[in-house]
């Protein structure tokens, strides 16, 4: 019986990879455990093993092919007694030793389709050249350009140098800037966060990468008590120009202690700026602004977005100012605010709503603090309805702040109470089905919009 060999996922967030090489040729006999091929992502290389005995009948994806989507058939193995070219009767996912051997691997073999989003248009006033880049590459370019521009800028964190970043955001930086400016730290968040603060207070401009923002909890005293308050407490004499950056929020299947949104934690604190971009262009333009900013900036990225591609301006002087939201989809029926990954979800919801005759305006907040109140208020004055979307918990969340803002500044324009769409108010479940339920989905946003539009 012929079986298809599928492109495996190395991790729950992997959507595609490169088929680096074939270890077997068409016509070769294979038995379980034989290495068929090698696949690569920007994070790892692994071998694909055969699970069935038979003969390699067809190679469907040639060696060297980039961007092979997970679950794409890459080869067909037929039984010894079958004729060549037989149609496969069943799909067998290849054995993947890096995948957890639990019952849930059945869901991992069929991940949800990658979120399809329209590429973000460049800032309205930019007329220069753009190119397609992933968020990951855009962040790297932002750091590289700013490090070329200013010798005081340096990057430190766990795995940022030799390993090129735990999520490969710092690829090529060690090579270009050397170990003096791209610094691997010991596993010592409390310590290296304080060091970043000290180096900033001594006049440098550190970029401190947290492998994820979950680990910054150990260091929050330095972020709040030292970084955010120094300029104030030193009577303006000494500031702290530091960027704390890394992935924030839920990724996929990393469970309660590694899936949480810190936007409202940091946005609560005066002295900090908090940025959380969605598109690659904004990731680049805002990270550049953050590095140039004389204040401490919390830069919240998202692991799921790292591999998504958008058009990005190539001009190294092009930046996105902190404190400016962006209308990513104009509409007149309702205002939907979102940030980071939820912008993509909100746009999917907006497309669905459009099919039902409801034109939603989607605002990418981009900066959480200082919040672009003007853009939000002006939008709601036109749409008269507000739905806020965030991945984080509801209590004292960004949606709560926006609801308060609506009371203070939009009350007379509202035709319906504000509705908040947010993550479930529980620690993030590990189980895939429950995780999905705990995170805002496009249908939740569609329902919220119907509530405020009384449809």
């Amino acid at each position: 019986m012929a079986v298809e060999v599928l492109m495996p996922a190395l991790s729950p967030t992997m959507t595609e990879g490169k088929l680096a090489k074939w270890s077997k040729s068409v016509g070769d006999a294979v038995k379980p455990g034989d290495i068929l091929a090698e696949i690569e992502t920007d994070k790892a290389t692994m071998e694909v093993e055969a699970v069935e005995e038979g003969v390699l009948d067809q190679i469907l994806v040639p060696a060297g092919t980039e961007g092979v989507a997970v679950n794409t058939p890459i080869a067909i193995v037929r039984g010894d007694d079958e004729e060549a070219g037989a149609k496969p009767a069943a799909k067998a996912p290849p054995k993947n030793e890096m995948r957890p051997q639990t019952a849930e691997t059945t869901t991992a073999a069929a991940p949800p389709p990658p979120v399809t989003v329209k590429p973000a248009p460049a800032e309205a006033d930019y007329k220069g050249e753009t190119r397609a880049q992933t968020v990951r590459e855009a962040l790297r370019d932002a750091m590289a350009e700013e490090m070329r521009r200013d010798p005081d800028v340096f990057l430190m964190g766990e795995e940022v140098a030799e390993y090129q970043g735990a999520y490969k955001v710092s690829q090529g930086l060690l090579e270009e800037f050397g170990a003096k400016r791209v610094i691997d730290t010991p596993i010592t968040e409390y310590g290296f966060t304080g060091m970043g603060v000290g180096a900033a207070m001594a006049g440098l401009k550190p970029i401190v990468e947290f492998m994820t923002f979950n680990f910054a909890m150990q260091a929050i005293d330095h972020i709040i008590n030292s970084a955010a308050k120094t300029l104030y407490m030193a009577g303006g004499q000494m500031g702290c120009p530091v960027v704390f950056r890394g992935p924030n929020g839920a990724a996929a299947r990393v469970a309660a202690q590694h899936s949480q949104c810190y936007a409202s934690w940091y946005a609560h604190c005066p002295g900090l700026k908090v940025v959380s971009p969605w598109s690659a262009a904004d990731a680049k333009g805002l990270l550049k602004s953050a590095i140039r900013d004389p204040n401490p900036v919390i830069f919240l990225e998202n692991e799921v977005l790292y591999g998504q591609t958008f058009q990005v301006p190539t001009d190294p002087e092009w930046i996105v100012p902190i404190g400016k939201a962006k209308i990513v989809r104009p509409g007149d029926a309702v205002t939907i605010t979102a940030f980071s990954r939820m912008v993509g979800v909100a746009l999917i919801a907006a497309d669905e709503l459009a099919k039902q005759g409801i034109e939603a305006e989607v605002i990418d907040l981009r900066t959480i603090r200082p919040l672009d109140i003007e853009t939000i208020v002006n939008s709601v004055k036109r749409t008269n309805r507000l739905v806020t979307v965030e991945e984080g918990w509801p209590f004292a969340g960004i949606g709560s702040e926006l609801a308060a803002l609506a009371m203070e500044q939009m009350f007379d324009w509202l035709d319906a109470p504000v509705v908040r769409v947010h993550g479930a108010d529980v620690p993030m479940p590990y189980a895939a089905n429950l995780e999905k339920l705990a995170l805002p989905q496009a249908e939740n946003i569609v329902e919220a919009v119907k509530r405020v539009t009384y449809k």
Binding site: T188, Y190, G198, A202, D221, Q237, P270, P370, I373
Partner: protein, 333 residues
Amino acid sequence: MPDFARDSTQLINLYQAMVLTRTFDAKAVALQRTGRLGTYPSSLGQEAVAVGVAAAMREEDLLLPSFREHGAQLWRGVTLQDILLYWGGDERGSASSGPRHDFPVNVPVGSHAPHAVGVALAFKLRGEQCVAVCVMGDGATSKGEVAEALNIAGVWRLPVVFVINNNGWAISVPVARQTAAATLAQKAVAAGIPGEQVDGNDVIAVRAAVEDALARARAGNGPALIEAITYRLSDHTTADDASRYRSDAEVSQRWNEEPIARLRRYLVKRELWTKADEERMLTALSTQVDAAVESYLATAPQPVESIFDHTYATLPADLADQRAAALAARSRR
């Protein structure tokens, strides 16, 4: 004896700096008791640590003081008035007259230890022959971030010197209940850096030990930890009453070892100091401190807008609104 200790002028300078610190501390406590200063941590009995550390430093080195290093700040050029402003609750006290690069007082216990490592990293990246000097108390050595700071400083051989002002007490907790380690200096061992104990009531010994550590660090030979053993003769702060938890007998005994009388006896014995010198000095220092107090008390309070002006480098729109509202409220009154 180190070279500086053979120079009578230098010895007298150290002595006078310690007496100035003590005179100032007494005045500051008096101001607090009469409602004209906030909570204040006296450094009574520990003057040799602060003065010895600062005297060992070069101008271009960078001091990261905790909250009991007035003596070091004064030596570095911070004025008496700055310190009074700071402890009086006026943030202008940290926009100080000392070296602009010195860090302001760090009140959270031990969090300036990693800051010091960051400063040392900055020196190294810029190729500057400077050293960061972090002074912290014995209680700080129990903190995780201090261990992390020592560890990274060791791994990267950074130019930083950690001085532990071991005054025996962390508020009411004696060192024996802070750690089972026989010494605090040995905390350096796990970090792979040199650690030593020094008599913290001997200003000559403190300065000499810190000078040696600074020279090594400046030459690229990495960090060091110095435990200066002294005693807190005062309460923890003006908000504390140490008689509730430690015996008068213990304190009385420690008065016999305090650093100022000790150096004075040495100076007198070497015929470098007379009773007349002492009286002249006390009068001069008292006049100096009184003038600073007068100037401090005459300083106009901070205007309401000052709470907004330095929260960010440039005022964000929402804070600008709050600032305008505060100013409008003031003009209505």
